[in-house]
């Protein structure tokens, strides 16, 4: 989490000050959304995860230790809320990835290059969606958020060894799916 909020604000929120909690929501929402999206790969699921994360955080504030880092604590809730969101959704419907909703970054000049970039993104998106919830969460936390293996284990309530295995499986699946992508545009 990039947002930094004074410990004093966290302390006031723990004491039941709703305005202080509002400050935390406003400071961390964008970061929470980004992490939620990277795990769920779906904007609506990520939006739902953001709300659930802050509601859970509010309910669990009593269990937050003042010496801990609030952002790291929020990571844990976000990752687990995102995983729960995926599992709930999997039980009710087949997942589909609304690729059109993803805002593309700069893709360089030329139509062919744009099409190539889009194809690569679709393959990567498809590869990520093929990962299990745990593999995806562990991979995202290591690859994008750069948490240590121990931090990921603590976040997902699994051992460091299980964390490594989840990341290994994720990387293996990604390599199998993405290995054949040509590295340059036609």
């Amino acid at each position: 989490m990039k947002a930094i909020v004074a410990d004093e604000v966290v302390g006031r929120a723990r004491s039941g000050d709703q305005n202080a909690f509002r400050t935390l929501v406003e400071a961390y929402s964008r970061d929470v959304f980004r992490l939620a999206f990277r795990i769920t790969r779906n904007e609506q699921d990520a939006e739902d995860t953001v709300q659930e994360t802050f509601i859970r955080a509010y309910q669990k504030l009593d269990g937050f230790e003042a010496r801990a880092n609030f952002g790291t604590w929020l990571y844990r809730i976000t990752a687990n809320s995102a995983i729960d969101q995926l599992r709930r959704k999997k039980r009710h419907e087949d997942r589909s990835v609304p690729l059109d909703e993803v805002t593309a970054g700069g893709v360089g000049p030329g139509q062919e290059r744009a099409v190539f970039g889009r194809q690569v993104r679709e393959r990567v998106e498809s590869a990520l969606v093929s990962l299990s919830e745990l593999e995806r969460a562990a991979f995202v936390l290591r690859h994008f958020e750069e948490l240590s293996l121990a931090e990921i284990g603590a976040t997902l309530d699994i051992t460091v060894s299980a964390t490594k295995q989840a990341i290994f499986r994720a990387v293996r699946k990604l390599r199998v799916t993405l290995a054949k992508i040509p590295r340059t545009a036609p």
């Binding site: 709703q18 509002r22 406003e26 729960d84 590295r183």
Partner: protein, 226 residues
């Protein structure tokens, strides 16, 4: 020559190799492993390039507007240790037996202590219900272990106190909650089986009935104090 396996390459890529120096030494002399690492790095670079949508500066306010009405004022926190101390303190004046018609008005200080414990028990039932609801909604979930452990510890305290005071009805409900939490913590029973048990045993209904009694008693004590 023994080549690096994929797991060693992944650990090295992320800076997690236990002996990075020996990996680097090997890479200097092994073209095949260098090629493997380059391919792995390229794949992960493709993943890094995937855009994630960004929300604007106003997003935090939108989130707050969406959740503010769902937040109920929190009660001041009690740690497990404080709850344990409260349970010991109240061992002689515990509430649950007093939920029955056998109630005789206790002295004011006992009433205050009883109210504190009633509020704590009510909150404990709330949190237990919430965790079990999460379990029913997502039976595969195994990520609330620390919360389940804490609830299990609390539930045991309340059950033991209720039992000592001879309130078997309350003891039974807390016993059911405790057994479920125990299975959640130990992971010995699948989420689907636990869900079926929760439904078959009407656990949510029993919790609500107990909470109704607890709150009624709390209101009685409140009205007696003012």
């Amino acid at each position: 020559m023994k080549h690096l396996d994929e797991e060693e390459l992944v650990l090295y890529h992320y800076g997690d190799a236990e002996d990075a120096t020996s990996v680097e030494e090997h890479l200097k002399t092994c073209a095949r492993c260098r090629a493997e690492l380059a391919e792995l790095t390229a794949v992960l670079a493709d993943v890094s390039a995937l855009p994630a949508p960004d929300r604007g500066d106003e997003y935090g306010e939108e989130v707050w507007a969406a959740i503010a009405h769902k937040l109920t004022p929190r009660r001041r926190v009690r740690s497990v240790f404080m709850l344990a101390a409260a349970a010991v303190l109240l061992a002689g004046t515990f509430l649950v037996g007093r939920l029955s018609t056998r109630w005789n008005a206790p002295p004011p200080s006992a009433q205050i202590r009883e109210r504190i414990l009633l509020v704590a028990l009510d909150e404990h039932l709330d949190r237990s219900q919430m965790l079990l609801l999460e379990l029913v909604n997502a039976p595969e979930s195994t990520f609330e272990l620390s919360a389940a452990r804490e609830l299990l510890h609390e539930s045991r305290l309340y059950r033991q106190t209720a039992f000592r005071m001879g309130d078997l009805a309350t003891t039974d409900v807390l016993d059911e909650i405790e057994r479920l939490l125990l299975d959640v913590v130990h992971g010995t029973t699948s989420g689907d089986v636990l869900t079926a048990r929760i439904v078959e045993q009407d656990v949510f209904f029993k919790i609500r009935i107990l909470q109704t009694n607890v709150r009624r008693r709390e209101e009685e004590l409140k009205s007696q104090q003012f």
